[in-house]
Amino acid sequence: MQKILSFSQKKMTNSLKKIPTIFLVDDQKITNFINKKLIENSKIKGEIFDFINPLKALRKISQLQPSHILLDLNMPQINGWEFLEEMKKNNLKSKVIIVTSSDSPLDRERAKDFEQVVGYKTKPLSEEKIKKIFNQ
């Protein structure tokens, strides 16, 4: 109960201070760790939530209203595409940046079918890439 309350408080403060919420969705906790560090090192203001289970992330979107979601494609529970389909179905408008180790042109093409996708980056990310993502 308290936790929920603290979340909603956070949300309120965030929206007041205009500090964006950022989701990291990757089944590899190390990747999430790296990306979190990179964001912090890049001095990007934002509250970061990382998920190794994409289903859990999906459930949190409407509540936490993230401005950005860094999304891996290759995950065991549901893959990135199914994740995007679910967002579409539920009219969730967060900006999505696909972060994947595959540089397949087919995937890049497919990404264009989703209007919430605003970037497509290959792993590993760097501070430079992070800055480009958030300065868009």
Binding site: I30, I34, N41, S101, P124, S126
Partner: protein, 286 residues
């Protein structure tokens, strides 16, 4: 001269009938038979031979009163013909008993004061020699020279025409056979080419299939390796801006974990893809 013309008038009808039948003749046999029938209407003779020579090719016709014969032979001229070819002047003279058998293939009756008349005719590429044996009982005279000339003209031009026609037909036949042979060869070549094309098509398809399989193997290798590798690279990138303690606590365990993942995946891939490649190369050999 009047005498010659009178002679021509007597033989005119027979000669014109002969010419018209000759023009319809198609074989040397027909020409030979037709000539034998008509010679007696033109002049008196015991035997007559007509040789026409074109290049090294010699066609001989020989007639007695009721026998005819013709044959091809290699250049062989009797003494009178040799003289004719040298001087080209007609011969009209007494014939010795011994010479008769050299001039004709036929048995002639006993001749009384045998005579030979022989004449040379030039028809461009073809030359002709005509020799006639006659005697007191069947006298070939100078009055008969004109009709003999007409006969020889018609005869040689007809036999030459028949020979040329048969040569042409022979050549045509050879030509046809050659074309047929080429046709058969062409068809054989076509069928070989078709078979080759089919084989190439099948092989090309096999190679393309193999290539696709190889590409997909390579893609899966690179993808699976890339994931932990990118983690390692990311971690190394992060480690540049952190203290030694922080590195040891926060990053090194992750590096270790990622390197181990990489090692496991690598070993697994090597094992699995080695099997795939083995399978492929085996198919290729078949």
């Amino acid at each position: 001269m009047n005498f010659n013309q009178s002679k021509y008038r007597i033989t005119y009808e027979a000669f014109s009938k002969f010419s018209s039948k000759l023009s319809k003749a198609e074989t040397l046999e027909e020409v030979s038979k037709l000539t034998l029938t008509n010679l007696k209407y033109f002049f008196n003779y015991h035997s007559i031979s007509i040789k026409s020579i074109t290049r090294n090719h010699q066609l001989c016709f020989s007639f007695s009163i009721n026998k005819a014969d013709f044959y091809y032979e290699k250049l062989g001229l009797n003494i009178f013909e040799k003289r004719l070819f040298e001087r080209k002047v007609p011969i009209y003279e007494e014939l010795r008993e011994n010479d008769i058998s050299t001039l004709t293939n036929f048995d002639l009756p006993v001749l009384e004061e045998a005579k030979i008349y022989a004449s040379y005719f030039d028809y461009g590429s073809t030359k002709a020699c005509v020799s006639i044996i006659s005697d007191e009982n069947r006298k070939f005279g100078m009055d008969d020279v004109e009709i003999l000339r007409l006969l020889t003209d018609a005869f040689v031009s007809k036999t030459r025409q028949i020979r040329l026609k048969s040569e042409l037909e022979e050549k045509n036949e050879e030509f046809k056979n050659a074309i047929q042979e080429i046709d058969v060869k062409n068809k054989q070549i076509e069928s070989i080419v078709d078979t080759q094309k089919a084989i190439i098509k099948i092989r090309t398809k096999n190679i393309l299939d193999k290539n696709k399989q190889l590409v997909s193997i390579l893609q899966s290798i690179s993808h699976n390796l890339q994931e932990p590798l990118s983690r390692i690279l990311g971690l190394l990138d992060l480690s540049e801006g952190v203290s030694k303690d922080e590195f040891i606590v926060d990053i090194l365990p992750y590096l270790k974990e990622s390197a181990t993942d990489l090692d496991i995946i690598f070993k697994d891939l090597v094992k699995k893809n080695a099997e795939d490649i083995k399978l492929l190369s085996k198919e290729n050999d078949e």
